[in-house]
Amino acid sequence: MTLILSRSALSKVQASIVIVVILVGAALAMYGYSVSNKPAKARLIVSTTTSLYETGFLDELKSKFELKYPNMNVSFISQGTGLAIQTAMRSDADMILVHDPASESQFLTGGYGVNRKILAYNFFVVVGPSEDPAGIKGKSPSDAFKAIRSAGLDGTAIWVSRGDNSGTYSKEKSLWKGIGLDVKDLRKEVWYLEAGSTMTATLKLANEKRAYTLTDIGTYLLNFNNHNIDLVELVEAGKSMLNVYSAIADNPKNANMTRANFEGSMQFIRYLVSDEGQQLFADFGTSKYGMPLFKPYVKLLQSQSDPTLIQWISDLAFFEGSECPQQFRYQAEDLYSIPPAVPVLVMSMLTEVEQRKAPAWIRSSKA
């Protein structure tokens, strides 16, 4: 009986082993095939802020870039700006695309990044219920934040904060700081809620609570158009609401970053600031939202159509008077020369800008 039992048991066990081996073999073969199908591609890992990714812009960027450079394979890791920078600091990403000048500066000065380039900009907006209990519509950002706080303390308004380490949260903190308030104290007050989540999740929470929140315009329009939220834009534009997106490559001189793909990063950054890359920014979202979600910065510089805005961006997102001070550049001086293809008419204005920048460069390189 044992013999019979064990023989049939053996066959079942053997059968299972055979199935397992076949499945594992098939799985490995599948993967091997899929890898061998894309040979000799240089992998570029970009850790990036959620607002750029969730709008779908980066998927489009990837397909256009890979069409032009078929030997490149770009992977985007979509995280909040804080985590995106952490990922790059561990060298798990080859470069970053983020929107928080303060942490970008730390990334550069910490020796983690080189060759920062400002790519695009748009504005943060304060959104809230159309009833607008705090009466902030049309107010300046600082007046609006004051009004929200006093209405909050009266119990008539609620504020929802991202409450994470995102660039948006960083901006929110600086806006509260602008009216002399510290988020550390605000978070103890009952009208101040923290979502601790993505921008879309924060917007949905604010929508449920009929609360105010700060959002980048792209994520807001996306959710408003999808009918996920019916919050309305109440405070927009203004220098303090500027949102500036930059790219920084991992520093190849950093001993922990020797595995990072520096050449690939630079190729990608050059593409982003090229006419073609900038046009992608200019075109994305225009048909759906009537305006580009991310406005191209290099194009703005070239056209010189709005000197005030250029000045605002310099004030907010330049370090030591430059988008990337001399000591943080590496084998990419050409990136920081005057952009090519500038119409002759605006050349004089450009030289003015360069003159304004020049003393700061000298100062920074001496320092």
Binding site: T2, L23, R259
Partner: protein
């Protein structure tokens, strides 16, 4: 339209039209979870046999440990493995992070306690008289195990299926180790998470129905197979 109804319609549409992106996401999901589960079985089933059929010091403690580990949060496990596989981590040399391999490794670790605990339970529930009988009829250790495994076959299969379901439906490991990279490491759960974050609620619901339908068809298939063999 009600997002749930819209989601169902969208799911059916995506499946019927064979949307290539959705199909490749579902295929990758299946591939990593099957591979992860099988990898886990390679070491978990021998461990379960040892725990169920051998007596040694600390057996209860080990069993209790595996039982407790079933509840490990996927994000926490994802974080530990992320630190291991990171370029700056001890296994950084292999550059596995943000590849399907990383998800397979992560999911195999994740489901190990499930396979071990459930399979141990199934093997222990086999009547001990059968073992004694096999022994008295002159069976060797290995032969005895074969007898017991055969008796507990469907219990072990169910342990494996439970492990697969956990791997297939988990988000934390796939997100932290895979990075949700389109066409490379985007699986169903990370796609659902992304589309929810993007505010594409109907698409999220559609993807979740695809996930559920795969899980359910598997469990129906297993049940049918089980019935037909009895």
């Amino acid at each position: 339209m009600d997002p749930i109804i819209e989601g169902i319609i969208r799911a059916i549409d995506l499946i019927l039209t064979g949307d290539p992106e959705v199909l490749s996401i579902a295929a990758l999901s299946l591939y990593v979870s099957v591979a992860g589960t099988l990898l886990a079985c390679a070491w978990s089933i021998p461990v379960a046999v040892a725990l169920a059929l051998r007596s040694f010091h600390g057996r209860r403690i080990v069993k209790g440990l595996f039982n407790a580990l079933i509840g490990v949060p996927t994000v926490a496990l994802g974080l530990y493995l992320y630190l291991l596989l990171s370029r700056a981590g001890p296994l950084g040399y292999f550059q596995l992070l943000y590849t399907p391999y990383a998800i397979i490794i992560g999911q195999s670790v994740l489901v190990t306690p499930i396979v071990v605990s459930f399979a141990t339970g199934a093997l222990e529930s086999v009547d001990s008289d059968l073992r004694t009988l096999a022994r008295t009829l002159g069976a060797s250790d290995i032969q005895t195990y074969q007898v017991v495994i055969r008796e507990a076959f469907w219990g072990v299969v169910l342990a494996i299926v439970a492990a697969f379901n956990r791997a297939f439906a988990e988000l934390g490991v796939a997100m932290m180790l895979g990075g949700n990279i389109r066409n490379l490491t985007r699986v169903l759960t990370t796609a659902i998470s992304l589309e929810t974050a993007r505010g594409e609620i109907a698409l999220s619901i559609a993807l979740s129905f695809i996930l559920l339908s795969i899980v359910m068809s598997l469990s129906v298939a297993i049940n049918l197979a089980r019935k037909s063999t009895r």
